[in-house]
């Protein structure tokens, strides 16, 4: 009765083998490496790039251990930190500003393991060191900005349509337009209804005043907030790229928060500076009479800036517009030619200034310059074809759709959609991270050894079986964590230790049951059978209650606590498998074949 069919042994063997393979990469350690990623979405990391990296390095006499293509970046592994730093300087200088070269660590595990997608566990910031920021987006400010822009738009629309009105005021989320008479209000309402779908319009008469009330619809409000968050996320991604961090995490959390995790970053002051920086945008005229000469002093009254597409341009110092005048910029298509284009929407003042500037400069080029860190870069420099009024501007020609998206983003990024504030910061130094790993590892090791010694002493052969299945549990848990690339934190390591301590419960339950049955005079084979069968229900019940706690922790926990919850839940699953299946298989192998078993070693 204590025999497993062959397929069960094979299943267990397969699970353990898979566990072994996916656990292996954790033992190889990591080597210094570089990660080269393109900063522009129009550029791709491909074989050409990795070939270029390899040849640049071999020209300098550096031989990398491995060069791999991973996602949208090329990763290069080196034998020593010395080579890594040298190579970074070379690549950063040669590849230019279109690529980011970041220091990284890569697993030393052999290629065949990486081919199987077997990677070491993904360590959280508290184990590898780095910074974690939680940023709160000020949604009120985003709404305020949108409402102010709308009231400007209402004014200019009414003026263009020649509707007589005497003023637009804003109170909270409500805009009020004052008219002289009911007729003007009816006409104004009709005009505004066509253009402002985001507002609920209603006419009211209040203390003798004839008003039109415009209330922002809730769905429009949500859309504005969502757009603001997305824009801030994009802007942050761009800025973090500049920090040269390998594997940064930039994610939305909840409705109005953004998590930024920068592994390995020590200079938190600089990181905060870059994240909190406001970029500005300026529109100026290009000086086309003179050629830009890189390295030379620009002529009087002009400045020289680099173009994003490469090359330099001389630009006049006089500023036509600043980024604050841009309400929105969206990628799209030209109505006539169907080419990719960027549509820009200027506010009232901006529209007037833009109209004047374009009237005087038809046929000339204007440059839109993005200033960050006090350094300017020309985003685009289109030719003015005709006078442009009304504040709706389109830039098109010689652009791919990807470039149009990039440009629109950069124009919007002139300023963050809404201000952000750091509401949480956690910085862990690298030495503390390494210490945390060691502490977690050591306490698990010592705890495991203590349990092993005790179990073998107390339950003899069955204790040994329990310890082996506990070992299988650890193997499977680590393999599962590596496979899922779940973030391992210090509380997560504590979770590993704790689930091991708790997993032994199942084996104790089984062993005690077997002893119990033996005491009541059942034969050893029947006792083993009954022990496993009867204990199963209890094990299931007790594990499910812990699973409930784990799931609740996962749902409501944040950061490191989530890591603990993940390990707890996975640990329960692996312990069910190993305590019941693996230990049963071992017992069956040891005792199951003997037809007449007189005694079992259970203490």
């Amino acid at each position: 009765m204590n025999r497993y069919p062959l397929w069960k042994y094979l299943l267990i063997l397969f699970a353990l083998l898979a566990g072994l393979i996916y656990t292996l990469p954790n033992f190889y350690g990591e080597s210094p490496a570089l990660q080269v990623s393109p900063l522009r979405s129009s550029l791709k990391a491909d074989d050409a790039l990795s070939g270029r990296v390899t040849s640049l390095l071999s020209d300098a006499g550096l031989v990398p251990e491995v060069v791999t293509l991973d996602g949208n970046s090329v990763k290069v592994r080196f034998a020593s930190t010395d080579h890594q730093i040298k190579a970074k300087d070379i690549l950063a200088a040669q590849l230019g500003e279109d690529y980011m070269v970041a220091l990284n660590l890569l697993s030393q595990s052999p290629q065949w393991l990486s081919d199987l997608n077997a990677l070491p566990m993904y360590l959280g910031l508290d184990l590898r060191g780095g910074v974690h920021f939680l940023l709160q987006v000020n949604m009120r400010a985003a709404l305020d900005k949108a409402l102010d822009a709308a009231s400007d738009d209402i004014r200019s629309t009414l003026r263009e349509q020649r509707v007589a009105y005497s003023g637009v005021t804003r109170e909270g989320d409500t805009l009020r337009v004052k008219f002289r008479d009911g007729e003007a209000r009816a006409k104004g309402e009709e005009e505004l209804r066509q253009r402002f779908n985001d507002f609920e319009l209603s006419g009211i008469d209040q203390s003798g005043e004839i008003l039109l009330q415009a209330i922002l619809k809730p769905e429009a409000q949500r859309r504005i907030q969502d757009a603001a968050l997305q824009q801030n996320l994009m802007t942050l991604r761009n800025r973090v790229n500049e920090l040269g961090v390998a594997e940064p995490v930039i994610q939305q959390q909840g409705a109005d928060r953004i998590v930024v995790q920068l592994p390995g970053v020590q200079d938190t002051a600089r990181a905060k500076d870059i994240l909190g920086r406001t970029a500005t945008l300026e529109v100026r005229m290009v000086d086309e009479e003179r050629q830009a000469v890189p390295g030379a002093m620009p002529p009087f009254g002009t400045e020289m800036f680099r173009e994003r597409q490469g090359g330099y341009l001389l630009v006049k110092k006089q500023v036509i517009l600043t980024g604050e005048r841009i309400n929105d910029a969206q990628p799209g298509f030209d109505n006539r030619t169907n080419e990719a284009a960027v549509h820009i929407n200027l506010d009232g003042v901006g529209a007037r200034k833009f109209k004047e500037a374009t009237r005087e400069n038809v046929g000339k080029r204007m440059a839109i310059i993005l200033f960050e860190k006090g350094r300017g870069e020309i985003v685009t420099a289109p030719v003015i074809r005709e006078e442009i009024g009304g504040g709706r501007v389109q830039i098109s020609g010689q652009m791919s759709t990807v470039e149009a998206q990039d440009t629109a983003l950069l124009l919007r990024a002139g300023a963050l959609a809404a201000p952000m504030e750091i509401v949480e910061e956690r910085t862990i130094g690298p030495s503390l991270g390494a210490e945390n790993i060691e502490r977690g590892f050591n306490s698990t090791k010592i705890g495991f050894l203590m349990i092993a010694v005790f179990m073998v002493a107390y339950y003899l052969m069955f204790g040994a079986v329990s310890v082996l299945s506990l070992g299988a549990n650890l193997l499977l848990l680590v393999a599962l964590l590596s496979m899922l690339q779940a973030t391992l934190t210090l509380p997560g390591m504590a979770g590993i230790a704790l689930t091991l301590g708790m997993a032994i419960d199942a084996n104790v339950l089984i062993n005690e049951r077997i002893r119990d049955e033996l005491r009541s005079g059942v034969t050893p084979q029947a006792a083993i059978h009954a022990g496993y069968e009867r204990a199963f229900g209890t094990i299931l019940d007790s594990n499910i209650t812990t699973l409930i706690a784990g799931i609740a922790l996962f749902m409501f926990g944040s950061g490191p606590i989530k890591g603990f919850a993940v390990v707890l839940c996975l640990g329960i699953l692996t312990s069910m498998f190993s305590a019941i299946m693996v230990s049963r298989a071992l017992v069956n192998l040891i005792y199951g074949r003997k037809a007449r078993l007189a005694k079992v070693a259970i203490g």
Binding site: E435, G501, I561
Partner: protein
């Protein structure tokens, strides 16, 4: 080896009056300390800044305090942390200072005094985040409790679910009472430990309840109290061994896990100790109090006899 060669069932239920008194007294004491002293909430919940810095030589704490006072941080708490070279600085939330900038200010000021200072850890938590964490923690506690009651109700009977959760919430209150009495820092990881204890110590009650149910089916003529006594006695060996093993792991964490895991392991230790006690001596008497009976599991046979077939 066998530690528990018990010939006769131990009459646990007849001690009911004493054990109930003991748990009531510890419970009331815990509530008393929680009410008078309150929990020493960590920066996770209250908001504020915590910095851990490391000096090349033993740190001069009064000098560090003096230096911080010159930056206007008179209320900064400065203490040694782990070793004489490691210093922990805690600054409560300030209205007029942008929180995230504070750590930079502190560091700059400390660097002026001693260039060898090295940052090991910075935690800044804004007021809103702290509030959210408290709310989420309370939500998680509620959800775990409801989930466990629901599951035990499904698997056993509502009386079991109710007595198990009362027994285990009693453990949770006692853990919190300890933290209040000693004014240990109550951080996020301690909260995680408390919730893990809740899930874990219910195991204990489940194992005993399982036996009780089995006994109800097997021992048809026996009194309820005897059935419970028998169930507890026969599972006692497993209880002690299991908790002993788990405690070995937790002990390793308590001693070797460093400061971060210390209170986490401490909460688990208290939880494990009290869950042994409460599942045996709180949950089971509660079952009797709620009037558990054989009929909860075995439907009277009469019903079947009266059935009329068409």
């Amino acid at each position: 080896m066998d530690f528990f060669k018990i010939k006769r069932d131990i009459p646990f239920m007849s001690y009911g009056r004493y054990t109930t008194t003991i748990s009531l007294v510890t419970f009331i004491l815990a509530v008393f300390f929680l009410a008078t002293r309150g929990l020493n909430f960590g920066v996770d919940f209250t908001g504020g800044t915590v910095m851990e810095v490391h000096y090349a030589q033993p740190a001069d704490l009064p000098a560090v305090r003096g230096q911080l006072a010159t930056t206007g941080l008179h209320d900064a708490l400065v203490q040694n942390f782990g070793s004489s070279q490691d210093v922990l600085i805690q600054v409560p939330l300030k209205q007029n200072l942008a929180g995230a900038q504070l750590s930079e200010q502190v560091l700059q000021s400390l660097r002026q005094q001693d260039g060898s200072v090295e940052v090991r850890r910075v935690e800044f938590v804004g007021p809103q985040v702290g509030k959210d964490l408290v709310e989420n923690g309370a939500m998680a506690l509620l959800l775990v409790s409801l989930g466990i009651v629901g599951y035990l109700w499904l698997r056993f009977e509502w009386k079991f679910g109710l007595s198990a959760i009362i027994a285990n919430l009693h453990d949770v209150v006692i853990i919190l009472g300890f933290f209040a009495f000693f004014q240990w820092e109550f951080s996020l990881s301690v909260l995680a430990a408390v919730l893990a204890v809740l899930g874990y110590s219910v195991n204990e009650s489940v194992v005993v309840f399982d036996r009780i149910r089995e006994n109800f089916r097997k021992m048809r003529k026996t009194e309820v109290t005897e059935i419970i006594d028998n169930a507890i006695t026969r599972t006692m060996s497993r209880t002690i061994i299991t908790h002993g093993s788990t405690q070995m792991m937790v002990l390793a964490m308590l001693l070797m896990g460093g400061e971060t895991l210390h209170y986490f392991a401490m909460a688990l230790t208290i939880g494990i100790m009290f869950s042994i006690y409460s599942s045996v001596l709180v949950a089971s008497p509660l079952l009797i109090l709620l009037g558990v009976s054989r009929e909860d599991f075995i439907k009277p046979e009469k019903v079947e006899a009266e059935e009329v077939l068409p």
